[in-house]
Each structure stands twice: as C-alpha cells, then as structure tokens.
Amino acid sequence: MKIRFKLFAGLTELLPPTRKSNVVELEVEDGTSVQQMIDLYRIPPRNAHLVLLNGLYIAPAERPASRLSEGDELAIWPPVAGG
C-alpha cells in the first residue's frame, strides 16, 4: 500500500537524498505500524517528538499499535514549539 511520509525540520535529512521535498510517497507492507516507520528511518526516540497520523496526534505509547492504511499521511517533527 502507498502512504505519504513527511519529515519536518531537522528530520528531513533522514529522507533519501533523491527526495525533492520533505514529503515522499512510499510503498509499505500492509500492517506497518507508526513505530516501525520511526525505526525504519532511524529517527532517535528523542526526536520523534510530535507524530501526526492524518493530522491526529499519536502518543508514544500508541505508536507500536497504530497501523497504517492505504493513503495515510504520517508526519513527524523533532521537539518544536511556537507562539
């Protein structure tokens, strides 16, 4: 199945050098979890700070059980804040 994977701020560098932006379309196996994507791209736990699946927050404890579906958008940020 296909998903859209987005790494923001300093995490963008973890995407393949062939990327054209911070968004890549990926073919992943059915049942892949959010945590598996974090591990696959070697995102340090401290830097998988804010994880949104289709815009919804996924808490660290929920990531292993959160399974991706066709067309999902997974977005990850390192520690950030604003005002």
Binding site: A9, T12, N22, W77, V80, A81, G82
Partner: protein
C-alpha cells in the same frame, strides 16, 4: 527586593517628570509589570475614558525579575486602555528596553495627559526630561532610534518608539523597541501617538540591586537555566527553528486559518514555513534565515533574523531593506500569509519589515487584509476604491496595502481602522474575524477548541498569549489534551490564563513555560523579592490579575455577549482535516468557564470570588 521601588510619572500636558515611591502594598498583591501596571491604571483612570483622549494613561512597566539574571528576564509591558478594543490593553515586549529601565533605577513609567507638541522622554538614571521631537515626527521607528542615539552620541541608549502608524493613530499601531521587538497588540502605539509622545529613550548604568537573597537567587536561576537548556523544546527546538516551525504543524492538523478563516488548511503553507526559511533560494543561493537571536538575558534565543531576496519585486529598487533584520515569526508569517492566501515568503518578509519599521501589529494588519480581500472577491470593494486588484493570494496587494497603511495613504487609512470597523462600514460585520474588535491569531477555533475559549474570554480581545492551550492541545505540554473536544477546556483555559498572568507580572517570557511550570518560577521570585511568595500566593496573584482585568472591562461596558466568536466559526464547519465537520463549541464552554471562575451566568465575578481574591 526585586523592585527599585520607584515610579517615574510623566505629565505630558504640564511637561513635568516626577519621581514617586512604588506602592509596595500593590506590588505585594500584583507582583509587577502586567499586574501592577494594570492596578495603577484601574485606580487612576475612568474605564469609560476615550482611549485616545488625554484622560487615558499609558504605563510602561517592568517586573521584579526584569533586568536580573533570571532567564528571559528582559520583558516589559505597556498597559493602557486599547483603542482597537476599548478594553484593557496589555502588550508585552522583549528586547533590551525593559532591562534598561531597571538599570536606570525605575520600575515603571506612567504617562498621563497629552503634550501640546511632539516630545520624547529621555531618561539617564535619575535624570528624566521631555525633549522636543518635532524633528522626529514623521520618521519611522528605525529612523527615530538611530537619530536619538546619534544626537546623544550614545549607541547604548535603548529606545522604544512609534512610527508613522502610531502617529496616524492606526488602531493596531504598536510600540517598537530595539528595532524589531514590539509591544504589539491592541493599538498601544496609537495611544502613544495620541499623546504626542514619539519615543522613550533610556540609559541606565546602575545595574540591578536589592535582590533579597543574592546567593539563593544565583543558585536557583542557574538551576532553572539548566532546565531550559536540557528541555528538548527550549534547548533545541525553539533556537533552531523558532516559532515559525508551527506553520506546517498547525496546517497538518487542519487548524491553520486560511483566507479569512474560510478554510483551515493552506496549500502553500510549506512555502512560508520555518523549513522554507532554511532553504537556499534559486536567485542568490542564500537562505532567508541568517541567524537566531535572543532578547536580554534569554537562554532560549527563539528570534529570527532574516535577509530578504534583493531581487524580489518589493525591494529590488530599495536597498534599505536588503540588510538582515527581524522576522519571520509564526504569527506574522501566518497573518501576512495564510490569512490572506499569500504564499510568497519574500513578500511576507517585506510586509513584516514595514510593520517593524513603522510600528504596526502584523497580526491585526494581516487579518484585516484578509477581510479586505474577501470583500474584494465578493465585489463589495472594487479596484477603484482600494487602488489595486486584491484577490486572495495577491502578494502585490499585500505589499501595497502595507505601504499605504504604514504611511496613512489612501485606502490604507481604512485598513488602519482594523477589520471590525472596516467590515461594519462596508455592511459585512460578520467578516471580521475578531473578538472584542481584536483580530484572531494563527490557530483555528474549530480545530483547536480550547483556543476558541481562549480568544472569546481574553481580556484584551482575541489573543493566543493569554492562555496558550496550544501547548497542551497540540504539543502535549504539560499534558496532552484532545484539541477536537470541548470537555475539560474551561478548566484548562483558566489554569493557563492565571499562570500566564504570573509569568507576565514577573517580567519573564511566557516561552519559558514550555519547560517551566509555576513551580520553577516561584523560587526565583521568592529569592528576588521580599515577603511571602509561596505557590499558593502566586496562584492567587494570577487569578487576581485576571479578575481585575475582567472587572475593568465590565466597567468599560463589556458584557457576556462580548465573550463570543464570529458566526463563521460557529456555523461554517471546517471543510478538511481532523476537524472536518466541526464548528467551535464555544456556546457550551462559556457557561462552564464562568462557573469554574466563580462568576455569575452573566460573566460577572460573584461577591464571594471578589472577596476571596481581595478585590
């Protein structure tokens, strides 16, 4: 003691400057800065006063931690009755001006009356005098600061001034210090302009003395700086990416107000984001972002310093804007960009530079442009009326409107009224995205429900900095709450409102609250200030400040109906994203919020609540 215990009172009508002791009884109840200055305003002015009349007063005030080694202890507040809202106005700024006021030996400066001619206040330690500013009138904030430093042969003078927007009484004019820090909201710059006060220039060489227990203060402020440094957000996230990193976050959540809140996501958000500021441009191979920057005493350093693309149409023939300067911060980038559909980041930086240069709040300005663009697309406003084609997304219109408003030219005079008055004038009051006449900041109340309650109940009109529940609803600080539900939000908003009032009153930056709780601030205040500054007392101080501001607004004529959101947010559901199909649940939250606060169903604090708070 934390305080200098000295107030400078400036009677602009009589042209006099007098020193008086700080009311320490009030300092004990309201701490400083926002709290203490508001207490003075409440006691000394009629809440029904015309904000732009000589009867209004304007107070610049520091807190007990301002100028000290407490991290971010450089803040000062401008308190007055706001002309944009008619409510209490309380605008907070960083930079170095606040600390300089402390170094000169003063806690606050109270301006009253109106000068018969343009003047500026010059303070050098104990010496304070009004000086002729006729040569400065008509100049920008940047020109004014440069001229004052040059005339006094002292580059270390700190200047806070108004630009042409304040002189022209643009209702969202701000007071700018240190070139690109501003007491930004509610039109405090217009009040300063109405008083013929062009600038305040300070030079202080006394340092800060009188810390109650210096050894303990040194120890605890050092410990708390380490907390900021070790925290992933304040130690890494904010210095590296600044507030602007939220552009993509909030857009992904479907809570980025777009095109005057018609949409909740902006297709060009990534083009105006923090990440875009880091990318090298095709034109010159340079990134817009040059470096980060810190205000006085700050160990976070979230500020952005950027250089615009010299080939951009806005500046190609205007080299004075080519140097590195402040911006873009998230709120400005949103208001100048997504709020009116403009995805040209260089145009946003140009508009931001002009807002800094002539002293305009980019939030209210940008949001008002969004309303103008909607009126244009509806055919209510025409090119002949406004001087330019202005569909959503037009960078040319944004740039031209900024110039016109800053200079008080043509249709810019009407933009300078703010969206509420402008939309009413053209028969569509429902298109003003504001509360109490002040425009929304960068979070949609449908996708982040707590922020809707924050806006509706903010004492200074729509504002994110009175209770930044985004920290909890988006970032999980201190605990994660669901942004799409209303349950629990009245308690959350009250807690943020009261705690923020203490951070503000102390003279520190609210951004420390990403890592600090009130329990981190308390020992710093206790070490600096004489008296009892327990957690219980600080909790009371926060609630007391909030309730005092509420009482001022009620006396000024505000009622329950003013604690509301525009119909668009209550009837037009979000079209996309997680909030798709949702409207704001403000009507459910307000009654519960009043109850949590100990107010009547009409939003009036009960006698028991007032007595409990000593009001």
């Amino acid at each position: 003691m934390g305080w200098n215990k000295k107030v400078l009172r400036v009677d602009l009508t009589a042209g006099t400057c007098t020193s008086e002791p700080l009311n320490m009884e009030w300092a004990n109840d309201y701490l400083g800065s926002r709290g203490l200055a508001t207490k003075y305003l409440v006691e000394e002015t009629d809440p029904t006063v015309d904000p732009l009349s000589p009867g209004n007063k304007m107070i610049m005030s520091t807190g007990p931690l301002t100028g000290t080694m407490a991290s971010t202890g450089g803040r000062y507040t401008v308190v007055t009755k706001g002309p944009l809202t008619g409510a209490i106005a309380c605008s907070n700024s960083g930079g170095f001006f606040g600390a300089e006021m402390k170094f000169a030996g003063w806690d606050m400066i109270i301006f009253e009356g109106r000068s018969p001619k343009p003047v500026y206040l010059f303070v050098e330690n104990d010496k304070a005098e009004l000086r002729d500013a006729s040569q400065l009138w008509g100049k920008t904030c940047w020109e004014t600061e440069e001229a004052i430093k040059r005339d006094h042969h002292d580059p270390q003078i700190r200047v806070s001034s108004i630009g042409r927007a304040g002189e022209n009484q643009v209702l969202f004019a701000c007071v700018v210090n240190d070139l690109h820090r501003a007491a930004g909201r509610s039109g405090v710059g217009a009040v300063m302009g109405s008083k013929n006060l062009k600038a305040v220039a300070l030079r202080g060489t006394k340092g800060v003395s009188g810390i109650r227990d210096f050894g303990e203060f040194l120890k605890v402020t050092t410990e708390k700086k380490k907390v900021l440094a070790d925290n992933a957000v304040t130690g890494q996230g904010l210095p590296t990416y600044g507030t602007q990193v939220l552009m993509n976050v909030i857009n992904e959540m479907g809570a980025l107000p777009t095109r005057n809140h018609k949409d909740v996501a902006f297709e060009d958000a990534s083009k105006i984001s923090a990440e875009a500021m880091h990318e090298k441009r095709e034109t010159d191979g340079k990134a817009q972002l040059v470096t980060n920057a810190a205000c006085f005493g700050c160990t976070i350093a979230c500020g952005r310093i950027s250089a615009i693309d010299k080939t951009h149409f806005t500046v190609v023939n205007n080299p004075k804007y080519w140097g590195a300067s402040g911006g873009l911060e998230y709120e400005a980038a949103w208001a100048l960009g997504a709020a009116n559909g403009v995805g040209d980041i260089e145009a946003l930086q140009y508009a931001n530079l002009l807002c800094n240069e002539d002293g305009m709040d980019p939030i209210s300005f940008g949001a008002t442009v969004g309303a103008v663009m909607e009126l244009y697309e509806m055919g209510v406003l025409t090119k002949e009326q406004i001087g330019i084609d202005a569909p959503f997304g037009s960078a040319e219109a944004l740039a031209r409107f900024t110039e016109m408003t800053a200079r008080g030219e043509g249709f810019g005079k009407e933009i300078g009224l703010g969206s509420k008055r402008l939309c009413e004038k053209y028969g569509h009051p429902e298109l003003s995205m504001s509360v109490k006449g002040q425009e929304f900041p960068a979070y949609d109340a449908r996708g982040i429900q707590g922020m809707g309650l924050t806006y509706a109940t903010s004492n200074r009109g729509a504002c994110h900095l009175r209770s930044y529940t985004v920290a909890s609803e988006v970032l999980g600080i201190p605990v994660k709450t669901d942004p799409l539900v209303t349950e629990g939000k009245p308690e959350l908003v009250k807690a943020f409102q009261d705690a923020t009032a203490v951070f503000d009153a102390a003279g520190i930056c609210v951004f420390t609250s990403f890592a600090w709780t009130l329990a981190d601030v308390q020992p710093q205040i206790a070490a600096a200030c004489e008296g009892d500054w327990s957690m219980d007392k600080l909790n009371d101080v926060g609630e007391r400040i909030w309730t005092m501001e509420r009482q001022y607004n009620l006396a000024a004529g505000f009622t329950r109906k003013d604690d509301d959101l525009p119909a668009r947010l209550k009837t037009e559901a979000a079209k996309t994203g997680p909030a798709k199909g949702l409207v704001s649940g403000i009507d459910r939250m307000i009654p519960e919020y009043y109850q949590v606060r100990g107010w009547t169903p009409e939003g009036v604090p009960t006698r028991e609540t007032l007595e409990r708070l000593g009001l």
